[in-house]
């Protein structure tokens, strides 16, 4: 079989000592980049790019791919331990991961994230090997109306994340939507709600907002709580540092679903790992028998999103390798790199450079294995951070966050933005407004708006375009189905209330 012989050839390329070394360097750097908040995989790849000129392109790409998926593993660590998402795609992990850490189960969260990421990574590479062409063709059917429908579905799922008070969740969501329209409108080039701030022309950046709402807000609330130390009733004995059988049983379907969601969303250009992890979390909560556990330390809430962001990182490589189109910021930088090495990503790459393509694919098996080993072995080291007294840890979190956010753009504006959202997050927490809907709306709002307007341009103003296209119509129907239980409950509540007064509804 062509694919198997390709893979065999790929393993021969990937398992040369030099390429094993580059895979190791890649995943290690990726892990570090994942841990550091602010600096993300695109910046990591771009930083290392100049070092690779003159190198064998296959080795360079093995390293870059390693950075990409390595960062997905690394982003988990700070999310779980200190409630600071290391990557945008790890935001959802903070919701339950940090709660688990507070319960002394940081090791379980990290372990299940590593195992989930590993399963997701390996499965995605297998899907990549066998179905890349078929999948990318399917992805091309996703035009603006389909993106819009997907975003509608995502938003209906988000409504399930709104916590105890749907109204408060909804307000948080609207705030996020509002923030998502700040900046220059791409369709007209006009600035919106920028108040003359040049920095706001490119919109409200996600990372400072996320770090403020989670990391900084957490520090502020912990300072307010008077009790010293006793921050984690951490039982850091070895036995408790790894997931239990029960954790695994609870997470296995979440890992599987997360993998599939992540992989498919990852293939879609412009959607990406962050969107994938958010959808995965929302799906897990929606499907759970005990949704009330989510946000209070549900292990599936860590397993699903963590698997999905890793699968998305692999999925995102598909349009790059098969069509020569970068689907995410990181793959775009990789594409630039490939061009400089004299390789033209595109349909001919598989034929003209099979060694390169299959070598890269095979290296991902190796890279994921290395990451699994690193992430499980070092759990005791990572969790020992929690032995620090709270006061010292707080100082670290703040220093870490400020430096991380500053490093994105070398901009103090972002630091102020983060601190501002730290305050916002603190008050939201006090008043029990959930922060997750705000962040989701901030990320997804831009795609929602853009795809809506593109679709309406395509149809010259007719909203029927969403219903006449099968994929978009099915996604919208699915959104309705998702909303149904909520609507039903709402209507039932209403009708019960109305029964007493017997007002006929017409």
């Amino acid at each position: 079989m062509e694919i198997l012989s390709g893979l065999a050839q790929g393993f021969a390329v990937a398992f040369t000592p030099a390429n094993i070394l580059f895979a190791l360097v890649g995943v290690t750097v990726g892990q570090l980049i994942g841990v550091l908040p602010g600096i993300g995989p695109p910046a990591g790849v771009a930083l290392l790019l100049p070092l690779t000129f003159g190198m064998d392109p296959t080795s360079a790409m093995i390293m870059f791919a390693g950075i990409y998926y390595g960062a997905m593993y690394g982003g988990t660590i700070t999310s779980v331990l200190i409630n600071v998402p290391g990557e945008a795609s790890s935001v959802m992990t903070t919701l339950d991961g940090y709660q688990l850490a507070l319960q002394g189960r940081a090791g379980a969260a990290l372990g299940i994230a590593a195992i989930g990421s590993f399963i997701a990574g390996i499965s995605s590479v297998i899907l990549f090997s066998f179905f890349a062409w078929w999948l990318v063709r399917a992805a091309l059917h996703f035009g603006p109306p389909e993106y819009f429908a997907l975003m509608v579905l995502a938003f209906t799922l988000v409504i399930g994340l709104t916590g105890r008070s749907p109204l408060k969740g909804f307000i948080s969501l609207l705030l996020g939507l509002f923030l998502s329209i700040v900046g220059v409108d791409i369709l007209t080039g006009l600035p919106r709600f920028t108040f003359g701030q040049l920095k706001l022309l490119s919109g409200v950046e996600f990372v400072p907002v996320a770090m403020g709402l989670f990391g900084i807000a957490e520090v502020l609330s912990s300072v307010e709580e008077k009790e010293e130390a006793e921050f984690v009733k951490a039982d850091l004995r070895l036995r408790n540092l790894f997931p239990t059988i029960q954790d695994w049983v609870m997470s296995r379907w979440a890992i599987l679903r997360g993998t599939l969601i992540g992989f498919f969303v990852g293939i879609l250009p412009g959607a990406g790992a962050t969107t994938a992890s958010m959808i995965s979390y929302a799906v897990e909560k929606r499907l759970s028998q005990t949704p009330e556990r989510f946000g209070r330390g549900a292990i599936e809430g860590v397993a699903g999103p963590e698997s999905s962001n890793n699968a998305a990182a692999v999925g995102a490589l598909i349009p790059l390798i098969t069509l020569g189109i970068p689907g995410s910021a990181t793959t775009a930088v990789m594409m630039g790199a490939l061009l400089m090495y004299g390789l033209r990503p595109g349909p001919l790459l598989f034929q003209q450079n099979p060694q390169f393509v299959w070598g890269l694919i095979a290296s991902m098996f190796l890279g994921n294995l290395l990451l699994l080993a690193m992430n499980t072995m070092f759990i005791p080291a990572f969790t020992s951070v929690l032995r620090l007294p709270r006061a010292i840890l707080n100082a670290f979190v703040i220093a870490f966050s400020v430096v991380g956010v500053y490093s994105i753009d070398n901009s103090l504006f972002d630091v102020w933005l983060m601190l501002f959202f730290g305050l916002v997050g603190f008050f939201m927490k006090k008043l029990e407004y959930p922060a997750a809907p705000l962040l989701l709306a901030l990320v997804l709002g831009e795609i929602l708006e853009m795809s809506l307007r593109q679709s309406l341009l395509m149809s010259q103003g007719s909203p029927l375009i969403f219903l006449t296209r099968p994929i978009s119509a099915s996604l919208l129907a699915l959104s309705l189905v998702t909303l149904f239980p909520l609507l039903y409950r709402g209507v039932k509540g209403l009708s019960l209330a109305r029964k007493a007064s017997m007002i006929p509804r017409t």
Binding site: G183, I186, G346
Partner: protein, 287 residues
């Protein structure tokens, strides 16, 4: 770099960084930062705000002129120090390989029959894609429906997925998909046929007076020390002469070399601004 990753400007920026480093033309490596959005308004405003900072350069492509002219950017060419002109880049008009439209004549016919039905993928509503679409419409009397996307990569995805009927792309952006038989070029908006795509006719040959090229170059913020500009200018011109530049960038991306020093580039910037102003005024886009 005021544009998203994967487009023509991005490739330029990354190649400058590469050749400068390889040929050791500057003591420090250049780092490429993408600041896309608002048809360049975001990135250019950012660079212009770094007044006096000799460590920031920006690549210039058409939005450098068009966005400010349309009143959609707080900064215009007068907010920058010209450093060097580098290459001319032109535009290909593409359809999906499986499109029923086989030639430019087919396209014009279809568009005449049903105005606004043919969708065009482009980057930003005020980008070169939009300008060249305006000119194309004006010269042929047809009406197209322009759908803006965030990057050249997204435009190409939309074309391959047949979300849009036609798309504009720089030859270098599209060659991978053309060679891979996913997209088909109908015509090129250059004076002469491209050496690497000899079978693709020019618009002129087909009786449509459409020649459109964009000058790509490099600018710095205002108030940068004069010797810093000089150092950068010298490095860039040396780079433009190097073999690596010619082979890896100019040939591979199907460009025409146009090396210009600071002064000449400055004059070209003013001339191009006048050109856009004239076109926009003719088209009734600005008064």
């Amino acid at each position: 770099m005021p544009f998203g990753v994967g487009g023509g400007s991005d490739i330029l920026a990354r190649n400058i960084a590469k050749v400068i480093q390889e040929e050791k033309l500057l003591p420090q490596p250049l780092v490429v930062v993408n600041k896309p959005g608002g048809s360049g308004a975001v990135g250019y405003s950012y660079v212009a705000s770094k007044r006096g900072d000799p460590y920031v350069i920006a690549t210039v492509s058409s939005s450098f002129w068009t966005t400010p002219l349309l009143g959609q950017s707080p900064v215009n060419y007068q907010h920058f120090t010209p450093v060097a002109g580098l290459v001319y880049d032109t535009y290909l008009l593409l359809v999906n390989q499986n499109s029923a439209i086989k030639s430019l004549r087919d396209l014009v016919e279809v568009a005449k029959r049903s105005p606004k039905l043919v969708t065009v993928g482009g980057t930003g509503a005020t980008s070169d894609d939009a300008v060249v679409t305006y000119i194309f419409q004006k010269e042929t009397g047809i009406q197209l429906n322009l759908i803006p996307f965030r990057s050249g990569g997204e435009v190409m995805t939309a074309l391959l997925g047949r979300q849009v009927t036609i798309a504009w792309a720089n030859p270098g952006e599209a060659i991978g998909q053309i060679e891979g038989k996913l997209a088909r070029p109908l015509a090129v908006a250059a004076e002469k046929r491209l050496r690497q795509l000899p079978e693709v006719p020019t618009f002129k040959e087909l009786g449509i007076n459409l020649v459109f090229r964009q000058l790509r170059g490099v600018v710095m913020p205002l108030d940068v020390p004069r010797d810093a500009v000089k150092i950068m200018e010298t490095a860039l011109l040396k780079m433009a002469k190097s073999k690596s530049w010619q082979q890896n960038y100019v040939d591979r991306n199907m460009l025409v070399p146009a090396p210009m020093g600071s002064e000449e580039f400055g004059k070209a910037i003013v001339a191009i601004n006048e050109m856009y102003k004239k076109v926009f005024t003719e088209l009734g886009v600005i008064k």
